[in-house]
Amino acid sequence: MYCLFNQLIVMANYCKEIFLFYLQGFKSMKLGKTLWLIILVKLFIMFFILKFFFFPRYLSKFETDAKKNEYVVNELINRAVN
């Protein structure tokens, strides 16, 4: 029990060290702040504008895999016929 407790403390300290490593790293950034801003704006545009409004999954209009399957197979067969 004592051993397990010690291990938990070691692990908690280790996690704290990693957290502080990242925190200090982010705080000391200069150019990095601009780059992170660009990354965040880019991700926002990609996931909340482009993906949401312009890039829905085409097959998501079908509720089940069986319906998606049926749609795709019909497309593949009919496009060859046409």
Partner: protein, 520 residues
């Protein structure tokens, strides 16, 4: 009556995918190339303890960071497009693509994200050796990310290790290692990665030459040129070797692409390779008997050697591939008309199998499944209306291939000369040499993009070689909406590219002197 797919929809969807992929590929090769150069520089620092090398490595790590930050996640848009614009294709290949892309995601997140944090935040906080390992693992992580994407791409060029399931209408993975270790995937991976090292090396040489032209940071610039030239020269020679391997694989697996690369309409044995050539714009059709070449310098029998490893090896031309009848290892090549018939047989067997399944007719299911499996290698030909549709854009492939090869040869001389001039102390005194180095900076990108044009335009009309053409893989969308998103991407990526160039130029102008032991 099912409405036919508009060809402009296919063209715009292809153009959108090409635009996204090409913009994404502006960032990737520099990441891979700078990754190895900055790791070598830091290795020298750790080995010698000379702070000059730390300062040098720091500068290039900073440039790497800018490129990485602007470029990161631009590839995700390609995945959006798979789901929206290429839904039939995505469904058809889902299981094959899923595994490599999932592994890529895990690698990208855990390896790159973890080690990049140590790379940028870890100076003076972790040991020199740990930081160096993080530096190398950042580059290795990026390379492994590329590996899985390239495996997925190679599978589209040479589909192996899968079985088509007519119940799910999906290709299912049956042999993971056949996909990962396919000769096309291995060659593609090494060729793409080592050629990306060239992009990084040319970039470092160009930027360093700019410092010498400005009479700044002489020691830093000369040392950077030396390291980049060694990396570049080794990479150029390896690229030549892996390029030969790739061309051999193209000859074996995608002969139409090879024929387009050479504008070879009539094949045969002892075929010459065109070193330099101009195409005849009068040639409008594959069977108009007009000479495709206006002017050409040829290397005797070299195409046969390259494609078959023997001077009298048979290389099929575009017309031979359409008409068939030439000898192959399996016997005699089928004509396109015969392949189209087999493709239609496979597709109608799929349709009949589905009907038999609904009717619970087990015997008919077995018969149709056998017909489907026998003819599945030609499945995609069932969508081809005219044999001429199988010919890619010959001029684009022909010239792109020559641009790539010519620049590859030029880089060998460039790096060899840079090493020689550096050794003879002639670099910082010859301004014209430095101007040539600066002017060469974009050429690495041009060669890399040209290589992808050969690989991707050369395999048209296929999304998956012989199995699925783009006309069958594309989603039934409104062309206008694809055009809208095309221009949205054009604007977004152009802004990102301008941001990259302007931030990079600003940091380059500051030079390594102001890095102050921080790459943040």
């Amino acid at each position: 009556m099912i409405e036919q797919i508009d060809t402009s929809l296919i063209d715009w969807s292809r153009a959108q995918f090409a635009l996204t992929a090409m913009y994404h590929w502006l960032f990737v090769p520099l990441t891979l190339g700078l990754g190895i150069i900055m790791a070598i520089m830091e290795s020298i620092y750790v080995k010698t303890g000379n702070p000059f090398w730390k300062r040098t490595a720091l500068f290039w790590i900073k440039i790497f960071g800018i490129n990485f930050a602007i470029g990161v996640a631009t590839g995700i848009i390609l995945e959006f497009e798979f789901g929206t614009n290429w839904s039939n294709y995505s469904w058809f290949v889902g299981d094959i693509f899923g595994a490599p892309l999932a592994i890529e995601g895990i690698f990208a997140f855990f390896m790159e994200a973890t080690f990049i944090a140590i790379l940028f935040f870890g100076w003076d906080k972790v040991s020199k050796r740990t930081h160096l390992i993080a530096n190398w693992l950042t580059g290795i992580g990026a390379t492994l990310s590329a590996l899985w994407i390239l495996i997925a791409n190679a599978w589209m060029q040479y589909p192996v290790g899968m079985a088509f399931n007519p119940d799910t209408v999906r290709n299912e993975m049956v042999d993971f290692w056949a996909i990962v270790l396919s000769p096309v995937a291995i060659n593609k991976f090494f060729h793409t990665v080592v050629s990306s090292w060239i992009v990084g090396a040319v970039f470092v040489v160009g930027v360093s030459a700019w410092f010498l032209l400005k009479k700044r940071e002489k020691e830093f610039a000369l040392a950077s040129i030396k390291i980049a030239s060694i990396v570049g020269l080794v990479a150029s020679i390896l690229t030549l070797w892996t390029g030969d391997g790739s061309a051999y694989q193209v000859a074996q697996k995608q002969p139409m692409k090879l024929a387009a690369m050479e504008a070879l309409y009539e094949g045969g044995t002892n075929i010459d390779l065109i070193a330099i050539g101009i195409l005849n714009s009068e040639k409008k059709s594959h069977n108009d008997n007009i000479d495709p070449h206006l002017w050409a310098i040829k290397i005797p029998e070299f195409l046969s050697i390259l494609a078959e490893r023997k001077a009298d090896g048979y290389v099929a031309g575009i017309n031979n591939l359409i008409e068939g009848g030439y000898p192959t290892e399996e016997g005699t090549a089928l004509s396109v008309e015969e392949k189209i018939a087999k493709g239609k047989l496979a597709i109608s067997a799929l349709a009949r199998y589905r009907i038999a399944k609904k009717e619970s007719n087990q015997a008919e299911q077995t018969i149709q499944r056998t017909i489907l499996e026998t003819n599945f290698p030609y499945f995609g030909y069932g969508y081809i209306k005219d044999p001429a549709d199988l010919i890619p854009n010959v001029a684009l492939v022909f010239y792109s291939f020559r641009i790539m090869v010519a620049l590859g040869v030029y880089f060998i001389f460039l790096f060899a000369f840079a090493l020689w001039a550096g050794k003879k102390n002639k670099l910082d005194t010859n301004r014209w040499i430095l101007k040539v180095f600066v002017a060469s900076t974009p050429l690495g990108y041009i060669a890399s993009q040209a290589g992808w044009v050969v690989a991707e335009v050369g395999r048209q009309p296929w999304s998956i070689q012989d199995i699925l053409p783009t006309s069958a893989g594309v989603s039934r969308l409104n062309t206008g909406s694809v055009q809208l998103t095309f221009f949205l991407f054009l604007i977004l990526f152009t802004i990102l590219f301008i941001a990259e160039v302007s931030i990079m130029l600003k940091e380059i102008k500051k030079g390594p002197g102001v890095s102050n032991h921080s790459s943040n």
